[in-house]
């Protein structure tokens, strides 16, 4: 069994997702010129959950949604031991002049988001880009990147590891904190 500590359990996470939905409505109104881009792979799960909630509970449908893979844009290619396996990018619209909500599960060093912004440029010039994350780890940022909407803020040591789990992929919706990255290897 995992040794991680649950810092957001299923009921709290449902509340958090609802709160994020309301914040998005406050910001983007009817979402007419807004699209969601989930970062592969785990940002996609969060984006899908939010869109599902907007649809079911608040009857907001037909928001453009794309999946963005940033593997080929990473700045640590050839600097790590393992090569990176790419996932699919699936964006069938241009982001030109749109409001983009970029969605990822955890914001930590900021490098993933920086790569995602570079990748996003290849789909047009967005009007603006906001960042939505489930977990914002405030320490150890390498780049000047900030989230606009965040589920929970976590102040943890550099060696700690935060994982967002989803029902259907893992056992249930929850956020776990591990004291050390090695602890989470099953």
């Amino acid at each position: 069994m995992d040794k991680g500590r649950v810092i957001l359990d299923q009921p709290r996470m449902a509340l958090t997702i609802d709160r994020l939905c309301y914040q998005l409505i406050e910001e983007f109104d009817d979402f007419s010129n807004t699209c969601f881009i989930g970062i592969q792979q785990r940002g996609v799960f969060l984006a899908q959950r939010i869109l599902q909630r907007l649809d079911q509970a608040m009857d907001i449908k037909r928001i453009d949604f794309g999946k963005l893979d940033i593997t080929f844009y990473r700045d640590d290619f050839r600097r790590r031991d393992k090569p990176l396996e790419a996932s699919k990018t699936d964006i069938n619209f241009l982001v030109e002049n749109k409001n983009v909500v970029l969605v990822d599960d955890v914001l930590y060093t900021g490098r993933t988001i920086s790569a995602a912004l570079a990748a996003l440029n290849h789909y047009g010039r967005p009007a603006r880009v906001e960042l939505l994350v489930m977990v914002d780890r405030r320490f150890n940022r390498h780049l000047p990147v900030q989230s606009t909407f965040q589920g929970i803020r976590v102040d943890a040591l550099d060696e700690a590891y935060v994982r967002v789990e989803w029902e259907g992929i893992e056992e249930e919706d929850r956020v776990l904190l591990f004291g050390h990255k090695n602890e989470m290897d099953k």
């Binding site: 593997t71 080929f72 090569p83 790419a86 699936d90 241009l94 570079a118 990748a119």
Partner: protein, 311 residues
């Protein structure tokens, strides 16, 4: 998600013979992603922005060279081109000296085409860069075989149990040899078909069927890969005339119609229209010749990307 290994088992791409089936699947999986990249409004990713690649072509080439160069540029690599006709090779420099000179200018990868079989292997034993074989004499042409198999798979699904016929000049063709290795590793059944003078002796030891009859072979296969008659490599006459070759081994509309089934027709180019393939077949709905060219860039991007990861 399909279980895919993350590493290629080799640092160089010298031939299909050295690759495992897992390597080939990894290359295809990565090529799928790059195919999406090259169909975007902006067809460029920054993956290889700190990598310098030398394209050394000691033999003429148009499409392979352009395809490699595009693949390199779409990965943001720095590219230097070299062709033997305009170089010091003409002044008597050896291959190793030429390459060492280029490498001392800090080149990370070398794409090489050379008329001598195994020249890339020789190079890989003496220098430190990743080597990619872009065709070595009559030995192998691995990237062509990979893009052929990738295109086949895209058209007909998994190749296990599929029947592929390779028509034409098997004797002088590096594409044929690489294709045979690649298709067999993916579980396909292969027949080579051509006049006896252009089929190497004992080729059946590679586990392929041999046929001298075009119509029987067309009736047998799901996919026909038609190779070019390489007149430039033929110093003696291997068949009486081009016209006779076209009559007995050329694939034309009538020959296809006689099979009464849907075949996939491929050709690695350049095409001798009216010799090994007629124009109406090359331009027909059966033909995936232009898809092969498009896939060539994606597959080469995948190979460069995966090899660059193995520094």
């Amino acid at each position: 998600m399909a279980a895919v290994t993350q590493h290629l088992s080799t640092r160089h791409l010298l031939g299909i013979k050295d690759l495992t089936a897992e390597d080939i699947h990894l290359i295809f999986h990565t090529s799928d992603n790059f195919k999406e990249v090259i169909n975007r409004p902006i067809r460029k990713v920054p993956s290889l922005r700190d990598v310098t690649i030398a394209n050394l072509f000691f033999e003429n080439s148009t499409r392979t060279r352009i395809s490699f160069e595009l693949a390199e540029k779409r990965l943001s690599a720095d590219v230097v081109n070299f062709s033997a006709s305009s170089s010091s090779v003409k002044k008597g420099e050896t291959l190793l000296d030429t390459v060492n000179n280029i490498l001392s200018m800090k080149v990370d990868m070398v794409v090489m085409r050379h008329p001598a079989p195994c020249a890339p292997k020789f190079l890989s034993e003496h220098i430190d860069a990743n080597i990619i074989n872009a065709g070595d004499g009559t030995h192998e042409h691995p990237t062509q075989a990979l893009l052929d198999a990738f295109s086949m798979q895209e058209k007909v699904g998994r190749l296990t149990g599929k029947k592929v016929a390779i028509f034409g000049d098997i004797l002088h063709s590096r594409v044929a040899l690489s294709n045979i290795f690649c298709l067999q590793k993916l579980g396909a059944e292969v027949t080579v078909c051509g006049p006896p003078t252009l089929i190497p002796k004992h080729i059946e030891r590679l586990g392929v069927h041999v046929s001298y009859n075009r119509d029987e072979t067309l009736a047998w296969c799901d996919i026909a890969n038609i190779l070019r008659i390489q007149l430039e490599r033929q110093d003696i006459k291997y068949f009486p005339s081009l016209r006779e070759y076209a009559q007995y081994f050329g694939v034309d509309r009538r020959a296809l119609d006689r099979t009464g089934k849907e075949l996939v027709v491929m050709h690695p180019g350049p095409i001798n229209r009216g010799v090994e393939i007629s124009s109406d077949v090359a331009d027909s709905e059966h033909s995936i010749i232009l898809q092969q060219v498009e896939n060539g860039v994606a597959v080469r991007m995948a190979i460069l990307y995966l090899l660059a990861a193995r520094t």
